[in-house]
Symmetry: C2
């Protein structure tokens, strides 16, 4: 539990998703993604690296230097999933994996299969690229998941030994460098909170404060070592690094009651949201360095928008939501979850987008299923595994714990941030307060909350009303409906009794969205959104023979929904010119057509297709 | 002289520029650029590499592996300049340089300071990246310049020995590979034509036909080894390589009367012009690989548009103009010459753009004058020299020979392709025909051609009427004016007498230009052109405190010219938003302003400035 902050998260036993999109996502995650990752980590020898290291002899290591972190992220996903379903088979695999990891841990708590073992470079000899502290961070986050879903065990004991080791080496008077990939900061803060060990929180604070002191050789901005965290004005450099660091800084700020640090990170986030974020919520706009680009450099075809940055941005937004209670952060979690995260995995949970550009210019073949490991999702198709395969396990751990993002509590009641069929059973001001949420959102805008138990008196149920939801209404148990302001929490307060129903109605008509005119890459285009979902057009939905580049849409024609598809009106303007610049402004010429869109998350499920979110206006 | 083709080029003694922009450019080229290059080549030891190689012992070489070509390109510039002015000092330096180069040539004609000398890799051990044949190519082109401006001498003797060596090694039955950087093809064709040696032309043909046979290890498209030249559909891969190769293929096609090959290259060019060329005529739209990008991928801020690709594109367009007589090719030479080439050099001729993007987002400081050699022109500022310094010498040789592009002849008369004060004194159908051209173009649209001598009978003077010149008129010596169709040659035929004047009037009001709607990077923008010149806005011309990204222009307001500056009307729309996407289409909000533009070629002459050619429409 955070020690300060506006809202309190719920325990994993207090909230459960029991239907709809996210339930299906969690099932696919368990049956598809987690099993898929277990297979690949074993097949590639990334798990076996621990067995080899445990033997204490020289060995030929496989995988990138940070592959241990993939094993830890998968362990974290397993821990959350075991908590969610109590899956005994998965629990057995977790225990077995624990033993293999434990065997490779050194006497003093050090643990890494790429450094410090016979024949390998010494410990901490390459903090810039070695990722040792980064790997420890993911070990600690997995241990947090285990603590929250199970309690102390052999796995959390590994993590305690590792955390103590890190504090011994990097504590006051020790090595004063940082890791080239932020992660240890947020992990130590979380682990300190979960274990109650102040030493870990203090170590997290030390690492946060050491950023910007240039203890690493090069590329300061890339790993946020250019200026101290509390002096930076915007999120910058490698997006995942920046967002993990921001998440850790918020945790430290909350625990230390450090309002200045919190304000600094909030300002960085606000500016990144206003100027460096794609419509999908995707962050990290440029391929070069997988980094935040400059303000308003948001080219849809060149959008990197890494899946892992989506995971990291949800972590950051969640912390800001808890700290401030501001619905904008819940909006952003929703936007990223529906568009970046849900779309990054295929319906079977076995292939993944690494980058999530908003415009796929060419229709490319599917990448090979086996053998070859592309560095990234190539040609706009999901891939089964990657050379640097950070995204699959990162997505797995996020989906497994997704129930945690549904609701929070405070002394007055419960706040609902994400809308999904769910059961909430918590304690408010010392008394049980249990709710069930029923909804077909976002296909339908009605959310019904039924009070299952209220052992206390007057309670408040608060609904996040998204900023796009102009015209939303909330209905009290007595049937009184009233407008609910977009971008605010809509409160319903009553001495609720069992069976009381509260209702939120959100407007879900599809809407045209236009970009800030300072975004060069989007000028003259519009996109379609419906509720939290961004929609896109795929070339397979164009009339036979039409060139995808020739499509222009008519934003004055009404958007309609038919058979679950949003329909837009447009024209296919086939042009041939010797010189592509002329004295007449382009005019629509082609025959009017109606085009069906698909949600961005559902792209690339019908074979090779070009795709675009931002459509030229006719 | 090409043996077939529609138009014939003039000799260097037949045409002379004697005023205006191009005369000034040639003076600056002689007094600034050529001297500057002589200094740098000496200072960096790139010339001294020849002295060291001549000693026949191991030595520590300086510069990139292809730095010999810089010495040859500068020699070519000197040869043209000596022909233009007869500068005795330059002639002495040329003779001295010849001796230094000659001393490094091996017995069998081989000559390279990076390969084949003691301690160096063997000859032709890295055709992919070694640039040996590329260097020979530039040696031969320099020799062509010497032959055309002086005649046979010690320099051309070096070239003959080198060309013979290349034919001996790579001729029929010999090494069948190509060079990773096309250049030898066009150079052998030119040298064969200049010397009358059929063997060189045949060797050029062999190299052309060997492209696409994949004799090099990797990256086939990059150096046009993916498909045979006559099967390719568009210019692709590294832009300079592609255009040098195309130029060589046209030469071979013309000499061999190979209409299929000519048609193939013409088709590739036409498609590249229609889909892969910037408004400035800049080719090679992407930084990655300095290459032609995909169709309509013409982002102005990411435009590479290398200066050398401008040089190469003029070479290609010139050959197509001679082959076909089509004014579009003269238009393209003019567009590239005014916008890419003239703008690539500063007014002193001592700093250079390597890349020529059409949008400079940030206002960056000037790069250092000495010492550090940036790889490219950094941050949108001209640089004094580069690590890979191909552009300065390439520009120097092009400006020095620019008179050659002014006019051509055929059996009927003279065709004027570029408008500049010039004297033309040639032979048409066996009789002297001499003209002077007077004009202040493009500041003024009137071109007056006075007949100085006509020893024959009826002659035709033809004017290229640019495709943008709607409303042009041509006036015969008798004072009769008639419309001259844009995009065609306007003929005036008469039995001209001494003193007769013909007049062309071109409309030079500034005009708005709009992009093809398939170009994602330009949608919603317009540019200003005046005559052949593209104009741009620089941030230093905005009102104090205005953010460059907030400028939008009103294309419905008239464009005006005042004090030599084109003026546009627009607004500065200062916006602040928490989220840069909204349901309302952007509307102009700011106060109306008038902004002065500058020609694109004159950018970056008033200190740090952001710049853009394509301006968002209000």
């Amino acid at each position: 539990m955070p020690s300060t902050g506006t809202l309190q998260p719920l325990g994993m036993d207090e909230v459960r998703i029991n239907g709809g999109h996210w339930s299906k996502r969690q099932t696919v995650n368990a049956e598809g993604t987690i099993q898929h990752c277990l297979h690949w980590l074993e097949a590639l020898g990334w798990t076996a690296n621990f067995d080899r290291a445990a033997e204490g002899k020289e060995f030929e290591r496989t995988g990138p230097q940070f592959s241990d972190s993939e094993v830890y992220k998968l362990a974290e996903a397993m821990a959350w999933e075991i908590g969610r379903t109590g899956d005994a088979g998965l629990e057995a695999r977790f225990v077995k994996l624990t033993a293999r990891i434990s065997a490779a841990q050194h006497e003093d708590g050090y643990l890494n299969t790429a450094y410090g073992n016979p024949g390998q470079p010494p410990r901490y000899s390459d903090l810039e690229w070695g990722h040792e502290l980064y790997c420890f961070g993911h070990l600690l986050q997995a241990a947090v998941a285990r603590l929250r879903n199970h309690g102390e065990d052999a796995f959390t004991a590994i993590a305690r030994r590792a955390a103590d080791h890190v504090c011994n080496v990097f504590g006051p008077g020790g090595d004063e460098r940082i890791c080239g990939h932020a992660e240890i900061e947020v992990a130590l803060a979380e682990f300190g909170r979960a274990t109650g060990e102040a030493r870990y929180l203090e170590q997290a604070r030390l690492f946060i404060e050491r950023h910007g002191r240039k203890t690493l050789p090069e590329k300061g901005v890339f790993y946020q070592d250019d200026v101290p965290v509390r002096e930076a004005e915007v999120l910058r450099g490698h997006a995942v690094r920046a967002l993990y660091l921001a998440s850790g800084a918020i945790d430290v700020a909350i625990e230390a009651g450090d309002a200045d640090l919190l304000d600094a990170v909030r300002g960085q986030w606000d500016r990144a949201v206003a100027r460096r974020t794609h419509l999908t919520g995707g962050m990290g706009s440029q391929y070069a360095d997988e980094a935040f680009g400059r303000d308003f450099a948001l080219n849809p075809a060149e959008a990197y928008s890494e899946s892992c940055a989506g995971v990291a941005a949800v972590m950051t937004a969640w912390r800001l939501l808890l700290a401030t209670g501001d619905t904008r952060h819940g909006d952003m979690i929703e936007r990223i979850a529906w568009n970046v995260l849900s779309g990054a995995v295929d319906p079977d949970g076995k292939s993944f987008f690494y980058a999530n550009p908003l415009h796929q210019v060419t229709a490319d073949p599917e990448p090979p299923r086996d053998g070859a490991l592309p560095h990234l999702s190539a040609g706009g198709r999901r891939g089964h595994w990657f050379e640097v395969s950070c995204c699959p396990t990162n997505l797995a751990r996020t989906f497994a714990q997704f129930a945690a993002y549904i609701a929070t509590a405070d002394d007055r009641g419960v706040q609902l941030h994400q809308y999904a069929p769910a059961a909430i059973d918590t304690v408010v001001a010392g008394s049980r307060f249990a709710l069930t949420m029923t909804t077909a959102y976002p296909d339908d805008g009605t959310v019904i909350v039924r009070v299952e138990a209220n052992d206390g008196g007057e309670r408040t149920v608060s609904f996040r009303v998204p900023h796009w939801a102009e015209g939303a209404t909330v209905t009290s148990p007595d049937g009184t409906a009233r407008p609910a302001a977009a971008g605010e929490l809509a409160d319903v307060t009553a001495a609720f009794a069992h069976g009381d129903e509260i209702r939120l109605d959100l407007p879900l008509a599809p809407r045209w969205t236009y970009p800030d005119p300072r975004i060069d890459g989007l000028r003259g285009c519009a996109a379609v959104e419906r509720g939290p979902e961004v929609w896109c057009v795929e070339s397979v939905d164009l009339p036979e023979g039409a060139d995808f580049a020739d499509l222009a849409v008519d934003t004055t024609a009404p958007l309609t929904v038919r058979d679950g598809r949003v329909k837009v009106r447009g024209r296919i303007n086939d042009r041939a010119a010797e010189w592509p610049y002329g004295t007449a402004a382009p005019r629509p010429e082609g025959e009017p057509v109606e085009i069906s869109l698909v949600p961005f998350r559902s792209r690339d499920t019908r074979g090779a297709a070009a795709m675009r979110v931002w459509m030229p206006i006719s």
